[in-house]
């Protein structure tokens, strides 16, 4: 028994699979089966079998297709994606599956077209991702994970399109001349490394998602549930499709699956966010943290309500948003602190600029010209400071960003004092 990695072939490489199998056959090995991308080969007399591969797109009745080939003498061995592997005894001396060059070339052109369509889809997803991207993307691992997946998707898609086009030209040459000189072993090794790379990237993405779940991010949890739903549902659908010839059953299950997906997602999001909301209600914060409290302004302030939420990711290990409101003798004080700690100064600068850009955009959308007055100042003991609307200040110090909102003019000596204490 000989095991050979046999996964990761794209449709267009059907010809290479054929050549590879025939090479193995001439060395006295025949393919028993392919399971999870591994080909199992058994020994037999040399050159007993000859292999021929076909590639199929849009074939409605796969059983009819296989029967047709078997009737002629090509025994079905296995399918690798769209590639169908057939075998017959060499002594039967059957003509190859494809005897018409033009029909064969037309067939593989379909594969190139399909690739191009998937490429366009990926580009659209990428554009949407980058349009919506701002500093909030890097606050949570889930944002980073999506970014990694999209970037990887783009590079992978570009790589595959170029690779497949080269392969197409090469296969056309093989069809025309029946000549080839390709080192199959190297090709299979490259495929194996690519597969490992895929698994690694998926692993990283899943780890990032899971870490977010442990940090209490409900979005990540909902996404994991949704992905699991899609995965399991897809699997069940494929089982139904392969086991039953009843198309109606398949269609009914598909509809249930889609409606279920549409119903489950908003429900899950609502449940999760309500859980999250309860968790963040009325948290009593310790004194002397790096955030503003009502008692900083008025010593005996009675806190009526407060809200705290926290996020963390690889690039921004800690960020939180704390809000507090107090009421004493009809005097209402509210303070708010947003805090971001980047792993280095440039991440902090990115967040700082992103925050300001977001505010500018909001300002533009509201079309009130003077609501957010942006101006630079060096009143605060930090690297960069921008005052908004006289009440809020955004401060950058080393790798940290603070957004502090206090009562009254933020540039008053008392308020500046409070801010300096916080960022110390």
């Amino acid at each position: 028994m000989k095991k050979i990695y046999f996964g990761g072939f794209s449709s267009i490489e059907y010809k290479l699979v054929e050549l590879y199998l025939n090479e193995l056959s001439s060395n006295g090995f025949y393919m028993e089966k392919v399971k999870f991308g591994i080909g199992y080969f058994l020994e037999c007399e040399k050159d007993k079998y000859i292999y021929c591969t076909d590639v199929i797109f849009n074939i409605k009745d796969i059983d009819d297709y296989k029967n047709f080939y078997e009737d002629i003498g090509w025994n079905f061995v296995c399918s690798i994606g769209n590639i169908q592997v057939f075998r017959s005894e060499k002594e039967k001396n059957l003509p190859p599956i494809h005897t018409d060059k033009n029909i064969e070339k037309d067939l593989i052109k379909t594969s190139i077209k399909n690739n191009l369509i998937s490429f366009i889809t990926i580009i659209i997803i990428a554009i949407l991702t980058f349009i919506n991207m701002d500093y909030t993307t890097i606050l949570e691992n889930i944002g980073l994970a999506s970014l990694i997946i999209v970037l990887f998707g783009i590079f992978n898609s570009i790589f595959i399109n170029i690779y497949e086009y080269r392969e197409y030209k090469y296969i056309c040459k093989i069809i025309d001349n029946k000549e080839y000189s390709k080192n199959f072993k190297n090709m299979v090794t490259v495929k194996r490394y690519l597969k490992i790379l895929y698994i690694l990237i998926i692993f990283i993405a899943i780890t990032l998602f899971l870490s977010d779940i442990f940090n209490g991010s409900t979005v990540a949890l909902v996404m994991i549930i949704f992905i699991a739903y899609m995965f399991i549902g897809g699997f069940i659908l494929s089982v139904i499709k392969s086991n039953s010839k009843n198309k109606i059953k398949f269609i009914i299950f598909s509809i249930i699956f889609i409606i279920g997906g549409m119903a489950i997602t908003p429900f899950a999001i609502m449940t999760m966010s309500s859980l999250n909301f309860n968790k963040s209600e009325n948290i009593i914060m310790a004194e002397g943290g790096r955030y503003a409290k009502c008692s900083d302004i008025f010593n005996n302030a009675t806190v009526k309500n407060s809200r705290y939420s926290e996020k963390s990711s690889i690039l921004v290990p800690k960020s939180f948003d704390y809000y507090e409101i107090s009421k004493d003798d009809d005097v209402v004080i509210s303070v708010r602190t947003e805090y971001f700690m980047g792993i280095n100064n440039s991440i902090a600068v990115y967040i700082f600029n992103g925050y300001v850009d977001n505010l500018k955009q909001k300002n533009d959308n509201r079309q009130y010209e003077n609501i957010y007055k942006l101006e630079k100042t060096d009143l605060f003991n930090c690297d960069k400071a921008i005052i908004i609307d006289d009440e809020t200040v955004i401060l950058l110090k080393n790798n940290e960003v603070f957004v502090i909102e206090l009562e009254g003019d933020i540039t008053s000596p008392e308020n500046i004092n409070i801010c300096e204490k916080i960022i110390e």
Binding site: D64, D71, I72, I97, T99, I103
Partner: protein, 103 residues
């Protein structure tokens, strides 16, 4: 695209249609084609499958019967006309080239 191609028949197409003057299934067609062409034209399983599906779609042939999962096809009147047109076209072409050998 397929429609345009079918205005003139390619060599395998011509022989497949010729063999379908009588009801035949896949393997039968294959052997008949090489018999008719005296082994000159060989049609592979994949090529045959593709062409039969295309012919059926264009109503040049039709499903005559189904025996033990074997599909048996027969040429239609449309296909017959096409075949005859092609025969006349080819004959004219040969006749036009006759002078090459009459010198």
């Amino acid at each position: 695209m397929a429609r345009e191609q079918l205005q003139t028949l390619s060599e395998p197409m011509y022989y497949i249609l010729l063999s379908l003057i009588e009801p035949r299934h896949g393997y039968d067609i294959m052997t008949k084609v090489s018999e008719l062409s005296k082994g000159r034209v060989v049609v592979g399983a994949g090529t045959l499958y593709t062409l039969l599906s295309r012919f059926e779609k264009e109503e040049i042939i039709y499903l005559y019967a189904e025996e033990k999962r074997r599909k048996i096809y027969l040429i239609t009147q449309k296909g017959m006309n096409m075949l005859k047109d092609e025969y006349i076209r080819l004959k004219n072409m040969v006749a036009d080239g006759d002078f090459l050998f009459k010198k």
